[in-house]
Symmetry: C2
Subunit: 287 residues, 2 copies
């Protein structure tokens, strides 16, 4: 930070450093730097936010880890782009045990799943998160119940994607994800409410996507031949059902498939849509 | 998870799923799934841990984000390797504003820096972290003061690296890092206590490393020509001072330099050493 502090051309750098120190000091006086400040930060709620405050997002992550990294990296990059790049955003991540969570989903223990996820939102709430997201589509099968139990506002990846799809004028979209996401009905419900039809792959295609999802994607394995099969399925759905675009309804899917793989078709990256909604919320007191 | 549930060869998978669900249910009864369970989890402290409990690590991250991702990925991979790969570890990450933190370091406001970091440990403590690490060497300039203020045990990257170096029999090691780390004296103090001499680069070399660190590494920029310069500096230090190895005393450095770049020289990856110490602590009630 002290580089070239003697040269006039570097002065903005120095001024910025001074600003940041003062800003840091202010944060410490008013913010997390004192017992009172932390108490304030931890008790701070949307109702008593001040103009300019950045709301702190909490992320329930680890489902799986690679997509959590994708969220984290994208959130930081987009926050910096949208705010001019001086500061890094505050982010709280609670990375949970994906294996235990998926076992509950697979066993259909949805009450237990909702209780588990709600308790994990409580941890983030205790740490001072102003709102919480689940960085994965699959657990949104119990989103309504988790939101009902949570002590902190939550942003749904499904609702945000439906809102985005509506704003883009889509009327019929394909859906890829885990079996739980394709068959769970929660995407269908949210999109039906928005007047958008959801088309899922055939039973055989769903089985293939689910197997690759659980066996490879969540482990960070992304192979070209699997990508080709996914592209072929999307093409078949467009030919047979006239889908205008494809919802990548699993936060690992953008790590496999992108717009370049699906020319002429809309691609809805649910991670990117969710992250943009998070930053909107983080900056909602900046106006 | 339901793949091939009808075929005998897949039975271990089913049994594991059943175990995991039961395990998940147990965790929910005793753990974070009920208000009482969360209260217990949040109040749980090393003193009342039960055998088999995994201690929850808290990471102060974002300094910088790429090294936080390195910690997160390595922690998950090594935890799974060391425990047999069934479960994913619980991890809490509090990603802070690197710019504000570095401004405090650069301005020498060490009291304010310690207060800031201690308050950020409080967030992790409130979320139920059993111990906390700072995922960066530079803020260890105030580690002792942060540990004194923190309400939760902390693991120092410097102390763990000194312990590791001692166990490996080193007597003289080179140190790369930010200017604050190379000149702050905290590495020298910890290693002197362990009877190991620390050699730092020349003033000019330090300036180069610091500039590349702040201008490139923390932004995720890693260039071959910078790597070559670092390798040359390490070679010069070995020739002139007889260092037996090099401490990568900045958590971005392992993203630039590895053992393959420094043949015949010990390479101490402080991130990897810190992560191994974290897992030791996480599993300390498993014996």
């Amino acid at each position: 930070m002290a580089r070239g502090t003697g040269t006039p051309v570097e002065m903005p750098r120095v001024r910025r450093a001074v600003f940041l120190v003062q800003n840091g000091m202010r944060r410490m006086r008013e913010g997390p730097g004192t017992a009172e400040g932390l108490q304030h930060a931890l008790q701070r709620r949307p109702g008593n936010m001040k103009k300019g405050d950045v709301m702190v997002p909490g992320i329930i992550g680890g489902i799986g880890p690679e997509s959590t990294i994708d969220y984290y990296r994208l959130l930081i990059a987009r926050f910096r782009e949208r705010t001019g790049g001086a500061d890094y955003p505050p982010v709280l991540v609670n990375s949970i045990d994906m294996t235990a969570m998926l076992a509950l989903v697979a066993a259909g223990n949805l009450d237990a799943l909702a209780a588990y996820l709600a308790a994990e939102t409580d941890r983030l709430n205790a740490a001072g998160a102003d709102f919480v997201v689940m960085a994965s589509n699959t657990p949104h099968i119990v989103f309504d119940e988790v939101r009902r139990r949570a002590r902190v506002p939550m942003l749904s990846i499904v609702e945000e994607t439906a809102g985005h799809a509506l704003s883009q004028g889509y009327t019929k979209l394909g859906l890829f994800g885990t079996r739980f996401t394709m068959q769970g009905g929660f995407y269908q419900a949210a999109f039906e409410e928005a007047g958008i039809a959801i088309v899922t792959p055939s039973a055989e295609e769903q089985e293939f996507i689910h197997e690759k999802y659980m066996g490879e994607f969540v482990k960070g394995i992304f192979r070209d031949e699997v990508k080709s099969a996914l592209v072929a399925t999307a093409g078949r759905m467009r030919a047979d059902s006239g889908i205008e675009g494809l919802i990548l309804g699993g936060t690992e899917l953008p790590l496999v498939l992108g717009p370049a793989d699906l020319p002429g078709m809309g691609v809805l990256n649910t991670t990117a849509i969710h992250v943009e909604a998070m930053i909107d919320r983080m900056l909602s007191h900046n106006a």
